[in-house]
């Protein structure tokens, strides 16, 4: 039953919780998808491609607002560290499924990476829809076993001295990576900062580049 995700040596206390059953409407969509795929009428990879096409209109950019506020307001950052669910709610964003959010901060010494074996464990109310690769078994398995190599495939090469922490989202706790504020953004307002924050940086598979020019 165990796949190659290395769960034995990873600290899991939720291995035996049943997976969350999706809503009836979501199950009907899954039924349509799998029947069409079984009949050879649709290629699941083609569905992922179509969804990726609409990535920019998928989900609110709520997570980026949270990050921009955290960079701009030290008091908010403190509240975010203490109780991310409540701090995020201050901005009017809530988990739709009652999940608790936890924010993990990137620093020059520590890089955080989020993985979950189920798409239902992705805080899409905050981050938008998960990218197709996030659900792939290759990502799920490799992120736990060999996070440094996974990051390299995303073009993120970290110094050997940087510690990588892998966070496995559960049905109860969803993680949001707080990326490092890019250099060259001193004095930028929250709107300008939020525009820099990518979805992938909040999963931990991207680092934000230094600002390329003056504040837009």
């Amino acid at each position: 039953m165990h796949d190659a995700a290395g769960h034995e040596d990873h600290d899991h206390d939720h291995d035996h919780d049943p997976s969350q059953v999706p809503s009836d409407i979501a199950l009907r969509v899954k039924a349509l998808e799998s029947l069409m795929a079984a009949k050879g009428l649709v290629d699941p990879a083609a569905l992922d491609e179509i969804i990726d096409t609409y990535e920019t209109r998928i989900g609110p950019r709520n997570g980026a607002r949270v990050v921009a506020r955290a960079w701009s307001d030290p008091a908010f950052l403190q509240r975010l560290r203490a109780d991310a669910t409540a701090a995020i709610a201050e901005l009017g964003f809530g988990g739709r499924q009652g999940e608790h959010m936890r924010v993990v901060e990137n620093t020059p010494e520590v890089h955080n990476l989020v993985v979950c074996t189920l798409c239902s464990c992705y805080p899409w109310a905050v981050l938008g829809l998960p990218p197709a690769w996030y659900k792939s078994s290759a990502y799920r398995a490799q992120a736990v076993i060999a996070p440094r190599q996974v990051l390299a495939t995303f073009g993120v090469d970290l110094p050997e001295t940087t510690e990588i922490r892998v966070w496995d989202s559960t049905a109860e706790i969803r993680y949001l990576v707080l990326p490092e504020r890019p250099a060259g953004t001193e004095g930028w307002d929250e709107d300008a900062l939020a525009a820099l924050v990518s979805r992938d940086s909040m999963i931990g598979v991207a680092r934000l580049p230094a600002a390329a020019g003056p504040r837009p």
Partner: protein, 122 residues
């Protein structure tokens, strides 16, 4: 798509849940495969919306009946119903198949420990 076909429907400005993106992608993919024209899709969707509206107050305005975005996109649940009807009309799927498959997925979720990929047994 033939040149005389109706234009493709617009997706909503923001998908509010993963299944909403999935049903949109599925409808687009099946159309691209040539299984139906957009005019067929629109006919069934109009029928579904009329049935839903006739059914009355079951849904609140926030469910999309009022078309708050103003872009013609209706509630994605209507797309799900419309696709079920359209595929059944073409004998591509039966209601029993759909019910059985949905239950199989529900069962897979219930019996798969968290942390494992949820899959249907072949």
């Amino acid at each position: 798509m033939s040149p005389s076909d109706d234009p493709a429907p617009s997706p909503p400005a923001v998908f509010e849940a993963p299944w909403q993106a999935s049903i949109f992608a599925l409808v687009v993919a099946l159309h691209d495969r040539g299984l139906f024209a957009w005019r067929d899709w629109n006919r069934v969707l109009v029928q579904v919306i009329a049935e839903q509206d006739a059914a009355g107050a079951a849904r609140s305005p926030s469910d999309g009946i009022a078309d708050p975005a103003g872009d013609g996109a209706r509630h994605p649940a209507d797309w799900v119903r419309a696709l079920e009807i359209l595929l059944a009309e073409r004998s591509l799927v039966t209601p029993d198949e759909l019910t059985g498959m949905a239950e199989a997925w529900a069962q897979a979720y219930r019996t798969t420990p968290h942390g494992q990929p949820v899959t249907l047994e072949a």
